[in-house]
Symmetry: C2
Subunit: 323 residues, 2 copies
């Protein structure tokens, strides 16, 4: 019984928070990440299919800094184009690293990265400036914020931290993914046994206009929610979110803090509704897991990269099952 | 009898020389380019397959400027990563534009962009600094050249124009493509009827080390030579180079200048060997056409985008045939 497994990689698996993000650093992280993924490949049935998606926050942040610094010479690009560029950058680094590890382990699997557009809805509440919720790029002083706003009147810049100093940030809408526009091609490739890297950075966000044309939009889609949409389309049985914690916690930071092991869909939903998970961190991951199980998925796992194989075998991680 | 047609797009089909390269400009050019390509799709047999490749010179140039300007804050990336980023950027713009035109024309074809690595040989003569032949990025003053060399000791910077002023440029090796590392996946997709965009910017250049690992390298592969290698791998019958001239000329700029129409492989080879085509311009295109015919291709066409359909039907363009 061949299964489809969708692995979603957090941004920290490619660029560590304390790193500047040189190619050397990012390749080193990608190789480490790819080693763990190749161990998953070794542990699953040879007939099982793997699809990989990844975040791109730090990479888009770096690109934004580069664009801002050269803005008077070279035009800056909007978010859709930046996401496309990071799909190229990260897809290349991950694909090459994974191919090398699979070759070394004598596993004969092709790996391919697909540029991937994801449809969003122009009526999504996030497209109202006051609702836009995804901070991107550097923290700014009020002065810098004003200067950037002057040069780019369309930008939404919000105060993201109380107090003074570096507490402003450019903010873009984070609309819900409606559908993955490259789902048919991705399905064809996984059916052919190819390990596919897709929906990077949540996918390139596009709207459909009245004439049926697709156009990019200034937004960033949450990579776990977009990954869930992709998981649906390719009929994945397992949705595997790899992040920096071994298990998800409830009552986080409180005396009764507790790590979650194997739990049911209803338990997870109840914790989610009670507000145990932060909006900018574990919240969208749990939301994505719940959606996955509602849409026909069998098992959602959240764990860390270095415990991935054990979590796959049910020995650790937070495992959420339909019933 | 279904045919495979490989179309190679010149850099000017995406960014015009007099443009700064904003996303608006590049999308406008991509839409125009995609309109002509969709007309080709309409004119070929529905069973015929199309593979598209493209240049990336102006886009990599812009990225290099952005990276240089932010170098003290964000690390600059090597050429392999920059090529990957432009494959993302241009692939996205072309794919979206083409999908929109095909939808409008009610042609049901999927379009997909594949991140694409191309293997080169570490013993290629271009990897000797004195042989490196591909100028990349901006023209520099001697002072700027010195400053960049100081910050990046590994860079090769050459005098590219006689005289004084802006006559220095960063130069990278332009090695011959050995093989397309994603050929099997690309073949699978075109067999399934997908229009594939691949080998962008000549492909991401990689070397294979003693252990069989692939690693990126500071180089740029000629997009027409890489396109030819891809054409071989997918068994293309027609290699279609779209550039800014309707026909190739011999005795260029002389009183006996003449545009070439339908010619044989041997004629083309003879003109090539007599030095009629410039190294930085028509030379590699003719070289790629000759190789294509030597490696089993049937017909190589060089023409302009707006005459593409007529050239496909043999009404214009320079058409080189095996015999």
């Amino acid at each position: 019984m061949a299964k489809v497994i969708l692995v979603a990689l957090g941004g920290n698996t490619i660029k560590l928070p304390n790193e500047k993000g040189s190619s050397e650093e990012q390749f080193r992280n990608c190789r480490k990440t790819a080693l763990y993924i190749s161990k998953i490949v070794k542990n699953i049935d040879p007939e099982d299919r793997l699809v990989i998606t990844h975040g791109n926050g730090p990479q888009v942040g770096n690109l934004m800094v580069q664009q801002k610094n050269a803005q008077d010479i070279v035009p800056a690009h909007p978010m859709d184009v930046l996401v496309a560029m990071t799909q190229g950058q990260i897809g290349y680094m991950l694909q090459q690293s994974l191919v090398n590890h699979l070759k070394e382990m004598n596993i004969k699997k092709s790996v391919s990265t697909i540029l991937n557009q994801v449809l969003v809805d122009r009526n999504d509440p996030e497209f109202k400036d006051e609702n836009a919720s995804k901070p991107v790029g550097n923290f700014l002083t009020q002065e810098e914020a004003k200067e950037i706003k002057k040069k780019n009147p369309d930008y939404i810049i919000k105060k993201v931290k109380p107090g003074s100093g570096l507490c402003w940030r450019r903010t873009v809408p984070s609309p819900d993914p409606i559908s993955n526009l490259d789902g048919d091609v991705i399905s064809k490739l996984i059916d052919a046994g190819v390990i596919v890297i897709a929906s990077g950075g949540g996918g390139i966000p596009v709207l459909e206009d009245e004439d049926g044309n697709y156009n990019g939009v200034e937004a960033v889609i949450d990579k776990d929610l977009a990954g869930e949409k992709l998981a649906e389309i390719v009929g994945a049985e397992i949705f595997f979110i790899l992040t920096d914690v071994e298990k998800v916690k409830v009552n986080f930071g409180k005396p009764n803090e507790r790590a979650l092991g194997k739990i049911s869909y209803l338990e997870a939903k109840s914790y989610f509704e009670k507000g145990h998970f932060l909006a900018g961190s574990m919240g969208p991951k749990i939301k994505a897991c719940l959606r996955f199980l509602e849409n026909g998925g069998e098992r959602a796992i959240i764990s860390s990269l270095d415990r991935a194989v054990d979590a796959y075998h049910g020995k650790t991680g937070t495992v959420i099952e339909k019933k």
